[in-house]
């Protein structure tokens, strides 16, 4: 067993291209190592205050949770996004609690909350099914869709990452996050739509395609207005032979667009904060999408779009700059 196991897993290795790319990223980070070391040294001065600070933070965290709930954030959204007090304020115009419900054939679906920035819409909904059905991960919609209004642009518009996640389920009730992120055109206010068809068990291929437990279609549409919580940079900035055309950053996500001639660039953006800390965006991360698309059919211009949703909300007011390759772009 041991020999076979070792022989088998010897065949498993990281793809060469990923290995080399990540090596380049890490080497680049090494060159800034001195700054990191200085930061670590600075941290040691605060050791004496750590216990007190932790106690204060624990009280603050509890207060923020209560504060967020008090301001109407759904508990599942609080659990997912973990907003701090500053995020509640920054995202006030980006959250909504619409009254949208549909109910027939024993199934009721109610939208509880939405959150949006220019490159992502996140919708929380609750569903209940007939009481004789106990929901589990092996049951789901044969089709489930979220339709999001986008700014109309010339050229092609592609590249959204969408999906849904079951956040909570018990008995015949389920709370779900459905989202769309990273489209190549920014989101705008308008109508949001949810559409569902046939609640089915999972079939042998892992799809929800078994005989329907409840057959039918359910649709919801509601007015969607949001104040963009992000900051834009739209100056053309040279990057090697390419041009950084647009940069967007919000507490939720980051998007970078580079107009290029021949080969889509590989970039490793670094978000830099006023306290000296940084977020190195994980270019192979699961929350990242990279798309090359024809952005101007008349000139044949191509744009590379790099999108990332942050693992945790960031404090946008504390972002001072974004480093892209050798270029540092101030964020004001």
């Amino acid at each position: 067993m041991k020999n076979l196991y070792q022989k088998t897993f010897d065949k498993v290795s990281m793809p060469e291209e990923t290995y080399l790319h990540l090596r380049t990223v890490l080497a680049s980070r090494c060159s800034q190592n001195e700054m990191e070391v200085n930061r670590m040294k600075n941290r040691s001065y605060f050791k004496k205050g750590i216990i007190l600070a932790l106690a204060v933070l624990m009280v603050a965290a509890l207060s923020v949770t209560a504060f967020a709930a008090g301001l109407g954030w759904h508990e599942e959204f609080i659990e997912l996004f973990r907003p701090g007090g500053e995020h509640i304020a920054e995202l006030e115009g980006a959250t909504d609690m619409p009254e949208a419900t549909v109910s027939h054939d024993g199934i009721t679906i109610s939208v509880k909350q939405s959150l949006a920035d220019a490159f992502g819409v996140y919708v929380l909904y609750e569903m209940s099914v007939p009481e004789d059905i106990v929901l589990d991960d092996g049951m789901g919609w044969a089709f489930e869709g979220l339709s999001v209004p986008h700014r109309k642009v010339e050229g092609s518009a592609i590249g959204a990452l969408g999906g849904s996640e079951i956040l909570e389920q018990s008995g015949n009730k389920r709370t779900v996050l459905i989202y769309e992120t990273g489209n190549t055109t920014a989101i705008e206010s308008g109508k949001l739509e949810l559409f569902f068809m046939n609640l089915c068990p999972m079939d042998s291929s892992g799809m929800y395609g078994g005989d329907p437990l409840v057959e039918g279609q359910w649709g919801l549409e509601w007015d969607f207005e949001y104040e963009d919580p992000g900051k834009w940079m739209r100056d053309d900035i040279p990057l090697g032979g390419d041009i950084i055309d647009e940069l967007y950053i919000s507490p939720i996500s980051f998007c970078l667009r580079i107009v290029y001639d021949e080969k889509a660039p590989r970039v490793n953006p670094v978000i830099q904060f006023s306290d000296g800390s940084e977020i190195v965006i994980n270019t192979t991360g699961r929350n990242v999408s990279k798309t090359g698309f024809l952005s101007n059919e008349a000139t044949g211009e191509y744009t590379y779009q790099f999108f990332c949703r942050f693992d945790e909300l960031i404090e946008l007011d504390n972002v001072v700059s974004v480093q892209v390759g050798e270029v540092t772009i101030p964020i004001e």
Partner: protein, 160 residues
């Protein structure tokens, strides 16, 4: 940590981290993600010289567990397109291991691939030695049962 020293560690251990992360997450993309996370962490909080491998194992296990707990985690992608094996036995074993629950996969990997003892695994995973022993026993039972469906007894060696 000097760049040369750091990159040497990356060259030596990146596949170890990748395999371990893959064995826990069962997702090549998540495993790549974790390799980057782990080595960036190594840059910001370097381990003591001589303890790099143990540090990498612990941090990889923790990062993989955190990822599995994340509600944001993308559904697992199929592995068969990303990996090819020379023999049906290798392929069968890989599939059988990947079909185990994540908490058993990591034990199997640390024991059979990395060669750690029960006590060492217990320390890494913060479990008791008896819990490691019980889980490994359970994992072997499941593997044996799974492999028996496809292969004859000779294939399943005694130490499984």
């Amino acid at each position: 940590m000097e760049e040369e020293e750091f990159l040497a560690l990356y060259d030596e251990y990146h596949n170890m981290v990748y395999r371990l992360a893959l064995s826990i997450t069962a997702s090549p993309q998540d495993a790549e993600d974790i390799v980057q996370t782990v080595f960036l962490k190594m840059l910001s909080s370097p381990p003591a010289p001589g303890s790099e491998k143990a540090w990498l194992i612990k941090v990889t296990v923790n990062a993989s567990r955190d990822l599995l707990r994340s509600a944001w985690r993308r559904k697992t992608e199929p592995l068969d397109e990303a990996l090819t094996f020379e023999t049906p036995e290798e392929s069968g074993l890989f599939d059988a291991v990947m079909a185990l629950p994540p908490k058993l996969r990591v034990l199997i990997h640390l024991y059979y691939y990395e060669g750690y003892s029960y006590a060492e695994i217990a320390k890494i995973l913060k479990l008791s030695s008896s819990a490691v022993s019980m889980r490994l026993h359970r994992a072997r039972q499941l593997l044996r049962s799974s492999l028996k469906e496809e292969y004859n007894e000779e294939f399943i060696s005694k130490d499984l």
